[in-house]
Amino acid sequence: MGRIKEKFRELQEKNKAALICYITAGDPDIEFTEQIINCMEASGVDMVEIGIPFSDPMADGPVIQAASERALKNSTSVSDVLSLVSRIRSSSDIPVILFGYYNPFFSYGTERFAHDAREAGADGVLVVDLPPEEAGELGVHIEREGLDRIFLLAPTSTEERIEMVLENASGFIYMVSVTGVTGARPDMNYDLEDLVGRIKSRSDVPVGIGFGVSSARQATAIASFSDAVIVGSALIRIIEDGGTQRQEVLENISSFTKEISAACLR
């Protein structure tokens, strides 16, 4: 069984939604990314999504755009991210999802990427701009290597599209909470419950909700009807605000993720 599936099973026994945290690799440098991931794991984060920075992050709001720009200042590449995954894997079993836009993967070579990602110890891959229609050329290699193929669904997704995504997805479904780009939001759309219900009536693949989650209150609400709470921009904001005060950043990340993780307990 893959690490992602294993983790969801373990959490189900604890009656807890998974806390999945996103950070952009190389923001502000790859060594710090590693420290942050270690810190998050120690603070109750269940899985990590490591973002590969891209020059044109079309689906991201200003916070993650800025993180990508910082990461690209030191030319953080797919190879750098794969080495990071190997280092994490040498001492941890935390499930790792690689997250990004297609062009850096395509440029690295789809077959080579899938092979090297498995070798490094990654567990799943989510490519924002690869809907099922275009996902095949990377997907065949990802599947062959036994990695999970994670897809997005959105509030705009029709029944037909839910069906198509479910045919291809494994690991979990990443449900985008809003029609919008990434970024923390004070209010979220709780009609999602209905959409999650429709997905769950057709498939037993877990459903996580992200885009906009920034408080324990939101996490509790989401945890009550979904399998995972996904947090991104709120963490990046802590990194951004901390600037060069790295110890302080780690402390803030630790207390923030502990609070959200506790809120994920049902």
Binding site: F54, M58, L72, V78, Y102, S107, P131, A154, T179
Partner: protein
Amino acid sequence: MGGNNRKYSCPDVGGHFGEFGGRYVSETLMPALIELQRAYREASEDKTFYEEIEYYLKQYVGRPTPLYFARAMTESLGGAKIYLKREDLAHTGAHKINNTISQAILCERMGKDRIIAETGAGQHGVATATVAALMNKECVIYMGEEDTKRQELNVFRMKLLGAEVRPVVSGTKTLKDAMNEAMRDWITNVRNTFYIIGSVAGPHPYPMMVRDFQSVIGHEAMEQILAVEGKLPDTLVACVGGGSNAMGLFFPFIEESEVRKIGVEAAGHGLESDLHSATITAGSVGVLHGSKTYLLQDENGQVKGAHSVAAGLDYPGVGPEHSYFQDTEKVEYVSVTDKEAISAFSFLSEVEGIIPALETSHAIAHVRKIAPSMSPEQTIVICLSGRGDKDIHTASSFM
């Protein structure tokens, strides 16, 4: 590939031109693209849709535009006969309005009340703001901050037309970033917003739809040249940014393999300088803005900034069908430098009394290279994609 007798039938249902094109977008946008594709297909089967487009193209845009025999230019170069397809005489001064008026009519049919667009030179922004005013729609135009400075006059025109111009400060602050920002707006406001993409770029169905709407250029040119010359032209030449004016001129001739088609990209400071926008001639295959196509990118798959003196060519991608035409050798792609373009800008102004856009000047510059070695029985049609009033400021700083 490209068997001569097989009828050209790209794209496929998923919007692919061979390996190029497609819909590389976030899931949030897929339903919107599918809705648009369906609306376009339904409209295409409705005679009244084309009647309405035809009405506005004639009465509002001023079509057909003339195919003007450039006698003085021809004599000055001393070779092939040169004809100019005068898109500069279309309302708002460029070919862009052929597309915006048609998409706005589609927008109206789809019942959307808000229009957004990206713009580089500002010509597409102006053409969009114009049709939004005409159709009484709310209008937001995204424009790289860098371009708002180079193209001040067009910023003013857009505002006068009632549009809100949002300067984009992310990334390289030019057209590619304006397109990112417009996509983000669309992702957020997809339910009431129609995104008018300004070239044959972006995810399916845009490359196909914009091609169809711009093909009026080539259809008219074909009829006009047959009327005066009694034969098809030998060579067609157009500048290529995203590639819409070139596609509009070339596409109706695509089965005519004896008609040579040349797309002219911007070589900026020179191809070896890294400061250029020659996507096809110097780029490699990748995925940007929803389609697979040639791109300017580094070894890690990061998209590089483009450069051209012509803001409308300053784009590191190109329409996917052009990438397909390159690989299937249906069109030749070449490039000319900023310097050559500026010189052609003065040349056409002096010999013909026509001030071309700096984008268009790239096509003129290439014709100056090839016309002299052609015979006087041969003909060249240039897509004179726009007029140069907007560029006076930029050009004067080079003279």
